[in-house]
Point group: C2
Chain length 315, copies 2
Amino acid sequence: MDIPTLSDVLTAHERIKPYIHRTPVLTSSFIDTLAGAELFFKCENFQKAGAFKARGASNAVFGLDAAQAAKGVATHSSGNHGSCLSYAAGRRGIPCTVVMPRTAPRAKKDAVQGYGARVVECEPSTSSREAVFAEVVAATGAEFVHPYNDPRVIAGQATCSRELIEQVAGLDAVIAPIGGGGMVSGTCLTLSNLASNIRIYGAEPEQADDAYRSFKAGHIIADDAPSTIADGLKVPLKELTWHFVRNHVTDILTASEAEIVEAMELTWKRMKILIEPSCAVPLATILKNRDVFAGKRVGVILTGGNVDLHKLPWQ
Amino acid sequence: MDIPTLSDVLTAHERIKPYIHRTPVLTSSFIDTLAGAELFFKCENFQKAGAFKARGASNAVFGLDAAQAAKGVATHSSGNHGSCLSYAAGRRGIPCTVVMPRTAPRAKKDAVQGYGARVVECEPSTSSREAVFAEVVAATGAEFVHPYNDPRVIAGQATCSRELIEQVAGLDAVIAPIGGGGMVSGTCLTLSNLASNIRIYGAEPEQADDAYRSFKAGHIIADDAPSTIADGLKVPLKELTWHFVRNHVTDILTASEAEIVEAMELTWKRMKILIEPSCAVPLATILKNRDVFAGKRVGVILTGGNVDLHKLPWQ
């Protein structure tokens, strides 16, 4: 297992700086009062392509040597990783192929294609996805960039909390959503090296709580097809992200679907920013675990803002 | 006519700093490409109470002497000025009364009351509003803080563009929505003193283009009851704001209702921020007047983000 190091994070940060936003940190005194804590929201919803995944994707793409770059990159994703990899490949001017289920929403395919990648459709099953993806790689020689179980991707995501601790002094804790665990792993990588006193929390939907159960059980538990509005958080931990979660996470907290939607609407209404459902899970867990964060200075990673404005969950 | 000066702006800025956000400036390479210009969005939608009007209201409230402060403040407004004055009075801990038509949306009354002010209802007519407001002032001795035709309010709004020129170097132009003209007047006040090379534009709905027509005619034209989705921009210029508009504005540009909604949705979708319809008018006019701004560095004042999330104009 190739575990990324602090040196990889620093290299990644220099490498991707021209292609990512150093996103701002916003605060809300109203929400602070509700939470009984000081919350510092790191706005990766403002990141390129609307999600933190532009960091990891850019690090993977711009780290390729010229020969591999010429053959391009490929991934399978129906979410933000696909559009972020497409974005990064477009910036470098190399080919990118994203395998997506033919049932994925038109808007998601449009986003991937909008940044220049080719979309190849598969059936909505793991076996079809793997078969189609293997064909794509065999035909193109493209480099596979996994959405999270990849040291280059984790080193890229790790640049987010490096910025956060430069922007906000004296944090007691940082919390991020946990799906496959890429952002949480990057957070662990940075903070365990640069600010090991800061506690790290993962936040997960109750209805897709495989990371929570893995954490409590001490080994990876993967569910087949969890159902949650937080669609970015359905994927399971893998060995690399499990390594970071097991070693550096203080706890994983969960929230119900209703609590996630409520936190999402609260954030839109009071902070005037768009966040996607997955991104609302940390605030939802903070509001239901006030004792854990009481009086603390807490960094909250807002992971993404890609929502369908014509289909909002409170309507 | 008591015309505010640069000295009033500097005093206002020191006075209100503890009560307002120094709002960030955001950019979008996607929208820049559409516009053919470099746009710098000054995010007053993130301002306290969700609108730039917290600046002017705070300057008026915190500039009162103790005797007047004890009697409180009052205004008539069914929009952001009411909630912003309520916010400022709440921060100082003094009484605030806002006269609102009984037909105003429940959400707007809730916002005003949420910051602590008392709402007094009137009939939805000018005569009723004036009669009820006169009673309120007679009964309380409250200081009237006009939404825009007030030197204290204009000096407060002027602090916004002072921050903007500190945050972004080399601007060629600044554009803001124009309704009563408070924000545009504040912008004129600051820029004519500190950066007189920067051109100043007002942006107005076609369906409430009284400022445009005033500007072309050379005297104030006030319409009775214009109808537009940009409900913050229905009010007419008054003598103080007309003074600044006449002397310092380069041009006033207009946009249709459909163009306003399109610019609003574009901003939400690409920038991941909530802006209200009035706030989308500048971008709408930029996108339809590409020749005016081609290749220029343009500051765009995003004036507010108070929208009803259950009633979006594209639904």
